[in-house]
Point group: D3
Chain length 163, copies 6
């Protein structure tokens, strides 16, 4: 039986919370494909290539993990990879509802694909890429929330925007 | 005593979840006016006329149901129709809070008008016009979530946007 | 079309929050039957007759309201009364989930009966018979939460228990 | 890599919601051990043997599923079986919080064991063994919520209690 | 020990709910600094000066309260004022999660600063600056939600926008 | 202005989460009275004296903290101590609702007393005395959740019960 899973997301940028979920998934599944969504209505700060690069760097020490980007419907992509399990992190109640809506819609479209949910470490439960970017823009030290190379990329991106 | 109720919304577009609520309301009230909000801060995909047309088509077999659009404050419109009961669907916790905020504000402005809440079928609880449009834009088969003529309208609208 | 509704509950004892819901329902429905559940797993402080008496006294000035008790399954009772609408009050998120579970189970058993939800006044949203009884047992002045004759009944009951 | 998982619970009695989760798990894992908790503070209606028997009957057609009971701490039992993944179903917000509390406590005690969460079918989201037993005790037809042999067991148990 | 607290927010515009929290805080702390955030991603309707002016007018009768604006990171500003306690109002579950995310991020960056939460009056629990502005734009009478001078400012601002 | 606060609870027994809240409160208030509720409907495992002793030991190194027990209504006790601020910890949504109900009832009875809420450390957010006792009864190592002397007391108590 395949124990390959896909962990999809925007990863704009990857946080210590995402990395924690990837590590946990890689300990219980043979292969974890981290899949960066190219077309995102939320208008990412980073290009899909930049996001893939940051994720790749963050997981470079994890044997069973690979990184890709995908376009279009998650469910179509998952099928094209012959994967049957999608992994999502659940931090809070608001996650819970949105994630369940998505998972139930996906299940209706593709009953053969199952979504499973994993919990990050309790002290990553408050991390969100959005809040981290807002904090960085106001000058906060975000080094406890993201890998140091991600912190540098955010600073670089913000100084470019300022130009 | 009047048993006329108003079921207001954006209906951009109408989903099987909305239709389920309208059917339920029409079984327990003499008259259900489905009222399409013209001025919506959420910038609908469809014009108010298109939305009224789709709702009308969806409820064409329901005797006690009529469809209208309205402008301005819901409460003023409800009063102008001499209706005292507003019906809203409740799917999830996040609905719950927003709906209660709206209903409590409306009650403060117009104590004579009451909001009542109805539950859609459990397997429509995850449906949202927003998620359905996002899924359609990525190429999903949305035929299980909306009537087939609505599916066609969404596709037509999206191909027009692409031009 | 019948506009008779049933508002079921334990009413152990009736609070100002319950009375508010009954008043609201009586303004939009022709007839409201307040139905006191006889067999309650929660072991009420008051007998079913005492609870019916207190509810009756609390609604004595409301023309369209009658009070009854019932045994057994709510759905069977509702059907026996030829009523199709059950009214429930929703105060908080925890209510929401329990009420939805009950309503969805009831709907599965009896698809012809609909549950609708009403909101009490915002400043009754924190009232619960359980908390009021606990507060009274510790000597609190509960006169702002229940009618004065209910306050007296609680005190009488508690002094009897002490004997 | 082991793809054996444990799905623990009280199963007092097993419902269609539990069976749905077991089926889903058995489609994505090689082996699913359904583990019936012997010592439960909630004082089950059925003995551990009766509960194991009903679960066994309910899953008899599922190849990859076995049924056991366990005593003591879940985490110790999971380790003794050399399993690293515990599966839990998530239906509602209240589940969510309790399950997360349990999972985070378990993780602290046993960081090597991971809890993953799966969603039942939307129209099983309201099922609970507790509500089903209460409904049965009031005479409800519960045949849509549990397998027919479970319904019979509940009736038998209740008539014995009445004696 | 310092009993100076900061109550930060966008206050676009100040509502009766905010004023209730400020009054409560001023009764239990020696000094309350209401701090209007200058740089807000939500694009306020009113300039920071207009918002400061409205807050100042609303609290003019409260001895222990002062009003300021601030730029940049809240935590840096709080430290620069030598304050250690930030006050936030909690109305609903959705507040709860967002506020906790913010407070936990702030705590990680600045462990010396504590966030405490206060509850507004129950019948202000549904007030939000956003909903009030939306209602005003549709012609609602908002005089029960904000001080009368704030109502005038909103009307003036909206008529200017219309020009 | 008084900066004395009361932190009431059952403390059956005190956990690392409680201790975290007490420490935080003691850093921002001059005096923290930890008040152990004598009459608790939840039937504590430990006597009020045992609970006071454990709390006292846990806070022995905190200068500004004292420990007491109280009987009867919290609000009456708070007034008798001439304190105006009650501190409560908020961990989860379910806490939130119950705590708000209690705080709003207390406010109605005693408008002069204010309840403020504090957040424990994120990785204590899952701790509950009830779950810890259940885990201990099943043989779990609970040394990461409570001080070591509390762990010993729980074991001693459980072995006595067994006799």
């Amino acid at each position: 039986m395949s124990t390959k899973v896909i962990y999809p997301g925007t990863f704009d940028p990857i946080t210590n919370g995402h990395i924690d979920i990837i590590e946990r998934a890689s300990r219980i599944y043979d292969k974890v494909i981290v899949s960066v969504a190219e077309n995102d209505p939320k208008k990412p700060m980073f290009s899909v290539q930049e996001r893939v690069d940051m994720v790749s760097k963050a997981v470079s020490n994890m044997d069973r993990v690979t990184v890709e980007s995908f376009k279009g419907l998650l469910i179509d992509y998952v099928r094209s990879k012959k994967v049957r399990v999608v992994v999502r992190g659940l931090r809070m109640i608001s996650d819970f509802e949105y994630e369940f809506q998505m998972a139930l819609m996906n299940r209706k479209i593709a009953p053969d694909i199952e979504t499973i949910f994993m919990m990050p470490k309790a002290n990553y439960s408050y991390l969100s890429s959005k809040l981290i970017k807002e904090a960085a823009q106001l000058g906060a030290d975000i080094s406890v929330f993201v890998p140091s190379f991600v912190e540098k990329e955010i600073k670089r991106k913000m100084s470019n925007i300022g130009k």
